[in-house]
Symmetry: C2
Subunit: 650 residues, 2 copies
């Protein structure tokens, strides 16, 4: 068995940050001389004094006539004064130099032209009126910009005006981004990836993050998990022009994790392992005078570790203030447990529901890149805290602009592929509105509505006594909460099986066969309720279905389980079978409704949602997905005032 590393003594996040800052905090990039025209966003290396005055001559500040003020004294409404155009008054446009002997400009609007040679004025000009005097803006020799100033567009103008064609700035830090891993293949080979081969995409993420922090990324070829290969690449990095070296990954304690040992071999490791999640397996070190960060392999971990240790360094190296993260106060939608001693970073979706910004955690792992792409914000749970209660006031770091929150439509509940379609159509109709969704099943959606966490829920909960959908559940769970029940569509539920139906499954009854493994939906899912109902109708006990206790959270996850051979059958909607080219054995039609709180009904986002689902285009697209009947999409099936149905379709 290969030798396995263990983490050096794990550090807390604040300890690690302190060590890192003490080692790298005073590092700065070199001076670089660049053309002023390329200076936007750069930081001045030295103070800049003006080489020339601006303006460098007395010039007209208005269009009009330049005059000697003393020639105009006494002019008034009752004592109009005439001036000769060639000897006493000279037509000037803004910016023209004052003719010799003049010291004031009279605006064109206040002048009357009485002949080819003469103008008439009604008031005296005072000296230097409407004149841009030499040095009025910039005086040669004065401090134009101090050192450590971030150049903005106006600054570039001032520099050029004051005679500077070049400017001395801190060089942008160059960052060597080294992907390592024998399992990695480049994205160009995605189509032929085999099991065990992972597409290298962290390098692109990290390079983009470097660029966001005004550094220059140098994304290198993948290096295999081999001590000597990694060492050679690190040596190359040290000898290169790079200012910072990132190695991704091999930072953990697995049998093929050489990063720490290689850094120690060529330099020094300060920290290996930080009590943060995601991001724990991070390495901080230095070799050849260059800071080296070993980043974890999981993308979310790599991103979080980058933000803690690389981002601040990129800014400080070029003497830039570390920009504050945008953040917002929110109410936590769901209790978040957290380990004591571990700094946690949870991804959340955000929306303003009933006037309050609500943050609902997305509970997915560090390997799930979509937990970040779908998230609206990050909740940091300090290591001193064992978790945060539901409803607590929390500070959320924003992953989207603040003003998008009021345009976010929050959907929590049962997953349906139609929700993706709605998201797209809403955006096409009103580009400002985004849909954030959390798939927790129908019952989870009802609970979210009860606790004012969402603008709408998707639900298809069968009342097994009446055979009706959703009404009974609303009566039971939404006491005191007024909502409208809106039909989205009728849809087919059925059993998904692999193409060609190798196990010859014809319906629910075949699931008791010992040769057939099943994959179930989680408790509270409408599909699960339906499945249990179908079993019960047939007198089949759950225990007799192999795999009944294996659960997945979405239709598509069921489809994937079947496709990958994890199970032979699972129950889901038709569109998920079609998406992955599986066979589909119908077991029934059901109603999928939206539950919309009365408080959200008149909101412009809800109006847009309703506009979409009653539109012909939506119905056409939904029909084309297969397995849906959108005939009554958008029909209000009931109005519940919190205590009774004031309207209810039979």
């Amino acid at each position: 068995m290969p030798k396995r590393n263990i983490y050096l003594k794990m550090k807390t996040l604040s300890e690690a940050l302190e060590i890192w800052s003490s080692k790298t905090g005073t590092m700065r990039t070199d001076e670089e001389i660049i053309p002023v025209t390329a200076g936007l966003g750069r930081v001045t290396f030295a103070p800049i004094t003006a080489r020339r005055s601006v303006p460098h001559y007395h010039g007209a500040a208005m269009d009009g006539f330049a005059v000697a003020a003393r020639n105009t004294f006494g002019a008034s409404d009752t004592n109009r004064l005439q001036l000769d155009i060639r000897t006493q008054a000279f037509a000037v446009d803004t910016g023209d130099p004052l003719p010799p002997g003049t010291d004031a400009v009279i605006m064109i609007e206040q002048v009357e032209q009485v002949s080819d040679k003469t103008i008439e004025i009604r008031s005296a000009a005072f000296p230097w009126q409407h004149v841009r005097k030499v040095g009025e803006d910039i005086i040669a020799g004065e401090l134009l910009l101090p050192r450590l100033h971030v150049l903005r567009p106006a600054d570039l103008g001032a520099l050029l005006a004051a005679g500077a064609a070049e400017v001395s700035v801190f060089a942008r830090p160059r960052v060597w981004v080294q992907p390592t891993g024998s399992e990695l293949i480049s994205a160009s080979r995605a189509a032929v990836a085999e099991p065990g081969q992972i597409i290298e995409f962290n390098g692109t993420i990290l390079s983009a993050m470097v660029a966001e922090c005004h550094g220059i990324p140098d994304l290198r070829e993948i290096v295999e998990d081999d001590y000597e290969c990694i060492k050679r690449s690190l040596q190359d990095a040290i000898e290169s022009q790079s200012d910072i070296i990132l190695i991704n990954a091999g930072s953990s304690a697995g049998s093929e994790d050489y990063t720490s040992a290689v850094i120690a071999d060529l330099g020094e490791v300060f920290v290996h392992g930080v009590a943060m999640m995601p991001g724990k397996p991070v390495i901080l070190g230095m070799a050849g005078g260059k800071p080296i960060v070993g980043l974890p392999g999981y993308p979310v971990s790599a991103i979080m570790a980058f933000e803690q240790f690389v981002r601040p360094l990129l800014f400080s190296m070029q003497s830039m203030d570390f920009p504050e993260f945008e953040s917002i106060s929110a109410s936590l939608g769901r209790k978040m447990p957290s380990k004591l001693g571990l700094e946690e970073f949870a991804r959340v979706i955000l929306g303003r529901v009933e006037g309050k910004v609500v943050a609902t955690p997305i509970q997915r792992g560090a390997g799930i890149i979509t937990s970040l792409t779908r998230a609206d914000g990050i909740l940091q749970i300090p290591q001193e805290q064992e978790g945060i209660e539901e409803g607590a006031d929390v500070r959320i770091r924003l992953l989207r602009p603040r003003n998008q929150i009021d345009f976010t439509l929050v959907m929590i509940g049962s997953h349906d592929n139609a929700i993706d379609l709605i998201a797209n159509e809403i955006r096409a109709r009103d580009g400002r509105i985004r849909l954030s969704s959390s798939n927790v099943g129908s019952l989870g959606g009802l609970m979210a509505i009860r606790r004012s966490l969402a603008h709408f829920a998707g639900s298809h909960l069968l009342d097994t006594e009446t055979g009706e959908y959703n009404y009974a559940y609303i009566e039971r769970y939404l006491k005191g909460k007024a909502v409208r029940l809106v039909k989205l569509a009728m849809r087919e539920q059925g059993l998904l099986v692999r193409k060609g139906n190798p196990r010859n499954i014809t319906g629910i009854d075949d699931l008791i066969s010992p040769d057939v493994s099943f994959i179930n939906r989680q408790a509270g899912a409408g599909t699960r309720v339906l499945f249990d109902y179908l079993l019960q109708q047939r007198g089949i006990s759950p225990e007799s279905v192999k795999g009944y206790d294996q659960e997945e959270f979405t239709h598509m996850a069921i489809a994937v389980s079947v496709l990958s051979g994890r199970a032979d059958a699972g129950m889901a909607i038709y569109s998920s079978a079609r998406a992955l080219n599986l066979d589909f054995i119908p077991v029934g039609r059901e109603r999928y409704d939206l539950i919309i709180p009365e408080s959200a009904w008149d909101d412009f986002k809800t109006c847009c949602l309703m506009d979409v689902i009653v539109s012909d285009e939506f119905r056409r697209l939904l029909t084309s997905m297969g397995g849906y009947d959108p005939t009554e999409s958008g029909r209000v099936m009931g109005i519940w005032n919190g205590y009774e149905w004031t309207e209810r379709q039979v």
Copy 2:
């Protein structure tokens, strides 16, 4: 006389914005297919569905051993179970595919290696434990990103992972930036600029602003003020690949302002003249289907007009949300008059004084680019308001990051070149601290301290009765306000005259000569007080000094007036004479002090200021400027508790 345009009917800012938005609000750039690796910050043109699932195989989520869960059932602390390494348990690293027959991973930490062939476990594994299942992150066919999504680093990773190497985005708008003006010369010829020639720098400012708004600027060669030349360049622009055309300037109503007529010639002018200041002479039009903006010639006007009319267009054209400007609440430090019916944009400096953010207007014109480079923020005064009272709560749009405000040291008062030096040295010592200064003379500084608008004031007010500096003024004007009086330096005041002293001025007495013109400092300036005192001592009446009523606000402005020949002599400090190579006739030494409110004394920024002015380096640099004696720099000359001096140097 050449024909002069008049503005078409002037529009209010909101009218103009509405017209502009109705004409251009739905314009979008074309689709562009780019590599995902170049996608940072771009906006998706169409929804993106995943081409492949991620992961595309069941893989280990931990380093450890892959097992079949059913082989581990029953294992516990008291019933350890041994597994054969070659047939039952397989060493895997994170990301490795699960060997056939296995469905769970046991973490390395929970395994004991008992021999080369055997491991021992103490607890059962449940199925799919520590396994990354197919499609756990992304399922082929699902919506990965909606249309109109701004790509962030994690999104790029998700795209690559899901098999997309390219992505369809809105093209960045290309912007034709056309400087016009016969008076313009390129910055490369700055050194040889003659009177009437102005360095073209607006083009660089506007190009940088385009880049900030994610557009692609195309800065063109200068075109002279000639109808046909401008028309030809506009034709070229229309036929080019550009999406937006900017013409700068010729947008006013002067004799050489052809922009409006040329646009009307080739297309249509919607708006000419907007009731905003700066920025009034703006033209909004269209030709060949391309939006055209004629921007004013004054840089601040051009910038303000760009922000109102071009910035929003650049964002909407690529379907980007218009980013909110960062803003902050502040208390207005000085009454701001404003014209009714005119939307005004005032530049202000900002600082937190006695706990309150204070905005102090910089009162300078639209031609003064440094009014923007020195400003910390913009105060927008709506057209309905006739002005804003001192102390009013105002909203300030930030020109610097918000977190810099608490690091801004606000100086208001008498100008001294040493203040620039201090600004630089403070920044070298603590890069976070910036100095914002407003030069309003010594008395203005005292008033600012009284009204809690500044962290310190510079003052050199001579008490003509005692011959002492500053004490009497503090007693008179700072009743109830505790301050410390700190000596900055002794400095030489004298008469500045042109090199070689062509008028043979030997001292104050020569200023009564009718051949000599004088340039004075404004009332309230310490130099003015000193000058008046010197006249009085000699029994010279102000009327007998030619130019006594001509005022400038800074030492350097006096120096420039003398250099440019506007006056033959002016009184100022030695360093200003030296900076512009003027002759200097000493008339006396005076004390220049800093007045620091007790409330600011312990502030870290004040401590840094004090550290600087007592440092050897500062004294060395100040001495090298000439005319200063910094022997006692930093000495506390008095402590005033608001009612009496509790400490006072004689």
